[in-house]
């Protein structure tokens, strides 16, 4: 009920609004909002999108991934090479200083890596870093990272998930101190942190010659405003200049007003339907391939995209996000064909369909649309809408095998961040296909790009052929900002304040 009424309020607000935007350009401060209370600004001790966004402003990685070309360029490192399958050597840039004046050199890299990979330090998402075994100083500006076995996506992870900390400062203040006064080498310095509530960033004038480029806007002021309607009210009244994650119906309304730019960009998150093909939760209809295929044919995914997700969302054919490395697109497709679905169900011995529990944890309208399509071919579903943690716990025990879930891959542009997580006999793997697992292993454990592509292609083709998953669609985000702000969003869902400027 709430969203419907709320939409009405905003429509009213739009009608009442006098149409003038307050200028924050004058004091060179971009005001914006997080929807969620960020745990801590110490990147390694949080798991939120907001934390990743802040980290990109404040810290640098050894390498940087160019969003336009997808190529890796040096950031804190100037060059690198694989010494062998498990050793990556970096030459570091000289003359870089942290925000507190501390000099950047090999010691910082070695300290950061060895700190985060140490299980005693309990970083929140160990999977982001525990592919590294250790780091080793060769000389002041040369450092080697040793991996636990071949890890072909190393550069991608280093670019996105390994922020380099100042060793002396971090040794002194630890995660709590870093959470209250973050210090990095990035384009923005942190001026103040009010935990969970308010963050102020200032442009770092001595920022090195990084591929990220120097920041243009002087100050970034971020407040946490949980309610999207309040965010919009702030936008209308000139309190903030930019918001994102705006629901598509409201974005459409804002688009009709001429003081805001509404920009839609896809994200790496995809939705999918998982089915208990392996029978982990006991005997069930999805153990028959025909039934799984029927689910694929039963759902008009394009219609869900067109009517519900809208924006730049697309139907995805394969069990990964299309631009991820190794994400084979030429796989068996399941176009909307309810008659074929019915025929397949009859063939599998369910001419009158069956009734089964269906699980979901977000985007209830999407789940309900799918249920309606399934009902049309005879699969009647009872919706169990749960908290994510509860659903995941059930799946770990082999239950809740039929459901609508999503995965954002941590913005890692590599299939090892999605397909390999779900199809290698982990506790969310309901396919349990030995062949698929072996192909994925082969792809994960070599640094040879061609071999990887080939292995992943085989795995993804079989996943589609067997209809273990029905991949649904990619998600999108609406960014809304005042006309004074110049900004181009990227599909990795990371807002780069340092790329923004005033018009």
């Amino acid at each position: 009920m709430k969203p419907i009424i709320a939409t009405g309020v905003i429509a009213l607000a739009a009608a009442l609004s006098s149409g003038q935007a307050f200028a924050n350009k004058a004091d060179d401060t971009l005001h914006t909002a997080f929807s969620k209370e960020l745990e801590t600004t110490d990147f390694y001790f949080q798991s939120a999108r907001e934390g990743t966004i802040l980290a990109r402003q404040v810290w640098d990685g050894l390498v940087y991934r160019d969003q336009k070309t997808g190529e890796y360029t040096g950031n804190l490192a100037s060059s690198w090479e694989w010494i062998d399958d498990t050793t990556l050597e970096f030459k570091l840039r000289e003359g870089i200083k942290f925000h507190n004046g501390e000099e950047f050199d090999a010691d910082d890299v070695v300290y950061t890596v060895n700190y985060v990979v140490n299980p005693d330090n309990h970083v929140v998402v160990p999977g982001n870093v525990n592919w590294m075994k250790s780091a080793e100083k060769i000389d002041k500006y040369t450092v080697r990272i040793h991996t636990n076995g071949p890890f072909p996506a190393a550069l991608e992870y280093l670019a996105g998930l390994v922020s380099i900390y100042p060793n002396e400062y971090y040794a002194e203040v630890g995660p709590t101190g870093m959470g209250q006064k973050p210090v990095g080498t990035g384009p923005y310095m942190v001026e103040s942190v009010d935990p969970g509530k308010h963050y102020v960033l200032k442009k770092y004038d001595d920022y090195h010659d990084s591929p990220k480029g120097k920041a243009s806007i002087g100050t970034i002021d971020i407040r946490t405003i949980p309610d999207v309607n309040t965010q919009m009210a702030e936008l209308f009244s000139g309190g903030i200049d930019m918001i994102w994650n705006v629901p598509s119906d409201q974005a459409a309304q804002l688009k009709t007003m001429d003081q805001f730019t509404v920009s839609n960009e896809s994200t790496m998150r995809i939705g999918y339907i998982t089915m208990d093909a392996a029978g982990r939760g006991g005997e069930n209809p999805f153990q028959k391939k025909e039934v799984r295929e029927a689910v694929g044919y039963a759902i008009d995914r394009q219609a869900i995209v067109d009517n519900l997700l809208q924006g730049s969302s697309k139907v995805v054919p394969s069990a990964c996000y299309p631009s991820q490395f190794g994400c084979e697109q030429d796989v068996k497709a399941y176009p909307y064909d309810p008659e074929k679905a019915k025929a397949l169900l009859a063939e599998a011995g369910y001419p009158d369909g069956f009734t089964i529990d269906f699980y979901a944890y977000r985007d209830r309208p999407y789940a309900e649309a799918m249920m309606a399509y399934l009902a049309e071919v005879g699969i009647k579903t009872d919706l169990n809408f749960l908290q994510y943690s509860a659903l995941r716990e059930m799946q770990q025990k082999g239950n809740a095998g039929f459901g609508f879930l999503t995965w954002g891959s941590n913005s890692i542009a590599d299939v090892s961040a999605i397909t390999s997580l779900f199809f290698k006999f982990g506790n969310q793997d309901f396919a349990r296909d030995e062949e698929v697992k072996n192909w994925l292993d082969a792809g994960d454990k070599t640094v040879d790009g061609e071999v990887r592509k080939e292995s992943y292609s085989k795995a993804l083709k079989k996943i589609a052929e067997e209809a273990y998953w029905i991949p649904l669609f990619s998600y999108n985000t609406n960014y809304v900002f005042t006309k004074e702000v110049d900004f181009t969003p990227t599909p990795d869902e990371i807002v780069r304040f340092f790329e923004m400027s005033w018009k």
Partner: protein
């Protein structure tokens, strides 16, 4: 009187412990805390590591006993989510909530009591009807809706007040009205009903007969008696406002304790939730006690009894 007070205090402690045991069990039953802490992008290995780190794999009773032992020594532990001491986190948030709660209950009392008295003096008059309308509207209107309407009018249309935040006193005006309005109808109706009853009592007629002024009769004789149940109600409302101003805190981005409690439940931030529940229960007890004292002062019969 002292024995009575001690007995009540003992009961209150038992209630607090029961509440915390129930909430502790419910939080553990409602989903895996490790999964919630690890976040949506966590892999299974991540979750296993967290289970081990926080000791979620231990028996529930043992975990609770651990928490209780530390809590009675004043150590509420670290927030799983914010990685900050819970005491520090809560004291910060509580000040916002207290400010809002005190302002809102004052607003409610200052508007509801006079309106209730006026309505009682002239029952079924225009003023009574208007007061009735105001209270029905207040009861019927959801806070989030009223809050948004306020924002639309005062922040967007007239640009008089900031829509969200807690930096200045202006930020508290709209939340105070929205939250206070929610408590107002009950207080007003109770004042009106009490006044109507009292104004028809024999002693009021006596007071009037002996020539006491209208104001003196109204305030000294009537209101003082009619207000006793209102004080008890206000105390309960105040307790509710501290823990239950979630919607208002969320809409106006106030980051108070109510919103923190609500969010912490979703995040399975057990130390924070447990500490907040303890504090909220203590507040309830404190306000009930205060209202008893206030009533004893207002009504000598309670003092003697």
């Amino acid at each position: 009187m002292l024995a009575f007070a001690l007995k009540r205090l003992g009961l209150a402690v038992l209630v607090t412990i029961t509440v915390s045991v129930i909430s502790f069990s419910l939080l553990h039953l409602s989903g895996d805390p490790a999964t919630a802490i690890a976040g949506e992008n966590a892999t299974e290995a991540d979750i296993a590591a967290i289970n081990e780190q926080y000791g979620f794999d231990r028996p529930l009773a043992e975990q609770y006993a651990d928490w209780l032992w530390n809590a009675v020594q004043g150590d509420f532990g670290q927030s799983y989510y914010f990685k900050l001491p819970v005491a520090q986190l809560i004291s910060d948030r509580l000040s916002v909530t207290m400010t809002l709660g005190v302002c809102a209950i004052s607003f409610a009392l200052l508007t509801a009591v006079p309106l209730g008295v006026l309505a009682a003096i002239r029952p079924n008059s225009l003023i009574d009807r208007v007061a009735l309308f105001i209270s029905v509207a207040g009861q019927a209107m959801p806070s989030f809706w009223f809050g948004l309407i306020m924002i639309v009018v005062f922040s967007i249309k007239f640009r008089l007040l900031p829509p969200s935040g807690s930096e200045t006193w202006q930020h508290f005006i709209m939340p105070t009205i929205v939250l206070g309005y929610y408590a107002m109808p009950a207080i007003m109706r109770l004042t009106r009903a009490g006044m109507l009853e009292v104004l028809n009592a024999d002693y009021i007629r006596t007071a009037r007969a002996k020539g006491a002024g209208a104001a003196r009769v109204l305030f000294k004789h009537a209101l003082r008696n009619a207000i006793v149940p209102v004080v008890s109600l206000a105390a309960v409302q105040m307790g509710f406002m501290l823990g239950g101003s979630i919607v208002v805190e969320s809409i106006f981005a106030l980051h108070g304790a109510g919103y923190l409690a609500w969010e912490s439940i979703g995040r399975h931030d057990l130390p924070t939730v447990q500490a907040l529940i303890l504090i909220f229960s203590c507040f309830y007890i404190l306000f009930t006690l205060l209202s008893d004292l206030a009533n004893a002062w207002l009504d000598p019969r309670i003092r003697v009894g």
